[in-house]
Symmetry: C2
Subunit: 257 residues, 2 copies
């Protein structure tokens, strides 16, 4: 099982939309995929039509209780081959609950090992802040996809995130996560600011930046209201094409390793 | 000094843009305004052309060190009557640093009292998550402006936030913060999803929703790259008009209390 975290400490830059739709893209190619929602907001959970407030147990229980396995809280989605480890507001106390434990940074990694044989890919949707949950995600992951909005704050936030990822690998020798790529989101082809930021990103980070970009597109914002990924909600829409292309580019980069 | 927190645990819904430009709007009306950046990303700080990485001391020092006052870390902005309490990445350890203290939730409130005589208004830019910093902001504030993107995730996140604000006032009897209003951001007049969400918000929350809405507008995303609020960057732009209108609506609501 290859585990990919979708992260950026900047809010609202398309992490959840990417986790949801990249997971779908990989599943559509015939892979078995596990989508882990690590955000107490539960938006990735809602993105697959699961109501966070009606869940008796979530990823929080699997993290806190040694007796609860990931598979016990896993939910089948409507999509063949795609399962979801859902979250809800209970996860907001995770920081406080996990902190006293000696293994606080490696719990997710350990719990995921138990189900690794059953999936080709695992995608982890991270909440914005650099927190104990994000640390768990990075330590559990082989790869990180960083979503970057084509806006002013993109560049400085990115440098900081990449530094953070590097720090984690030095402080935790078992952690071998590497940045798979930077995904430009909310792109607008005719907007000067977006063009400038895209140019800056490609100049500064070179091939780290995916060729695929996700353009601003209202269908992507509508799909969660239908509880579906864009690939089933609007399969011929530009957003669906872009996330299918991203899945191919991700697979190609993984092969190339 | 009336203190207004700009908050929402959802990422990227216009909190910083609103804190920066509402502060400017109030200052333009002749008020003295203090803008407190409570986000380690330092985006409100950058919004006034201050480089977070070149700051020797920030709001973090004022929170952690009893000997450091808010005024010692306050920076004059280019705008008459507007001062900034800047932040940078040092603030990301605040959660951990403040937690052992008995007064951990009230530090900001106490520190702001010392400067309250010098300002008409204080605006606090909050980071997305519900955290010890957000708690400090709520306890230090008289009012909260909640920014809400006109998108699918708006409604359920809102209900949770309003519940949180209410909980804080019940658990901390000295805290009397109330929601001044809900500000719809990233509005698009001809997009069906935005129209539907706006209608839902106004139906559900009634007069709590500001009449003023901030429309999606690339100038608002450009202004931070110039290190200026929209009111000086592009004074006749729609974004400037909307934030001036918001300042008037905020003042009217404060008068009406
Ligand atoms: N390419 C796009 N075009 C239009 N809307 C989009 C696009 N991508 C995401 N959105 C919408 O923008 C909002 C923010 O996106 P999303 O929730 O994916 O960001 P996020 O980084 O996960 O946010 P958070 O920091 O809160 O976790 C959502 O309402 C989403 O539906
Ligand atoms: N009305 C608008 N039109 C276009 N772009 C906007 C608008 N408001 C904000 N932006 C841009 O969208 C991005 C997110 O906005 P902003 O940083 O204000 O949100 P935030 O809620 O403070 O995010 P965070 O959760 O990271 O603190 C920024 O790049 C900002 O410049
Ligand atoms: Mg998200
Ligand atoms: Mg912000």
């Amino acid at each position: 099982m290859k585990t990919i975290a979708v992260a950026n400490q900047k809010g609202g830059c398309g992490k959840t939309t990417t986790a949801v739709n990249l997971a779908a893209g990989l599943a559509f190619q015939g892979n078995t995929v596990l989508l882990v929602d690590l955000d107490p907001q539960g938006h990735a959970t809602m993105g697959y039509g699961i109501d966070p407030d009606r869940l008796r147990r979530t990823v929080h229980d699997a993290l806190l209780d040694d007796a609860v396995s990931i598979s016990e809280v896993t939910v089948r989605s409507e999509l063949d081959g795609l399962d979801v480890v859902p979250s809800n507001i209970a996860l907001s106390s995770a920081e406080r609950d996990l902190r006293p434990r000696a293994d606080k940074a490696v719990i997710l990694s350990r719990k995921l090992e138990a189900v690794a044989a059953g999936y080709d890919y695992c995608l982890i949707d991270c909440a914005p802040p650099m927190s104990l949950l994000m640390l768990n995600a990075l330590i559990a992951s082989d790869e990180v996809v960083v979503t970057v909005q084509a806006q002013y704050f993109a560049l400085e936030g990115l440098k900081r995130l990449l530094k953070t990822v590097h720090l984690v690998t030095t402080r935790f020798p078992t952690c071998h996560v590497r940045v798979l790529g930077l995904l430009i989101t909310f792109m607008e082809d005719r907007t000067l600011l977006c063009m400038q930021v895209q140019k800056q990103l490609r100049t500064f980070f070179g091939t780290m930046v995916f060729d695929t970009m996700i353009h601003r597109n209202i269908r992507l914002a509508e799909a969660p209201s239908a509880g579906e990924p864009i690939l089933t909600y609007a399969p011929s829409d530009r957003g669906a094409k872009e996330y299918r292309a991203l899945a191919e580019e991700v697979l190609a980069r993984l092969e190339a390793q």
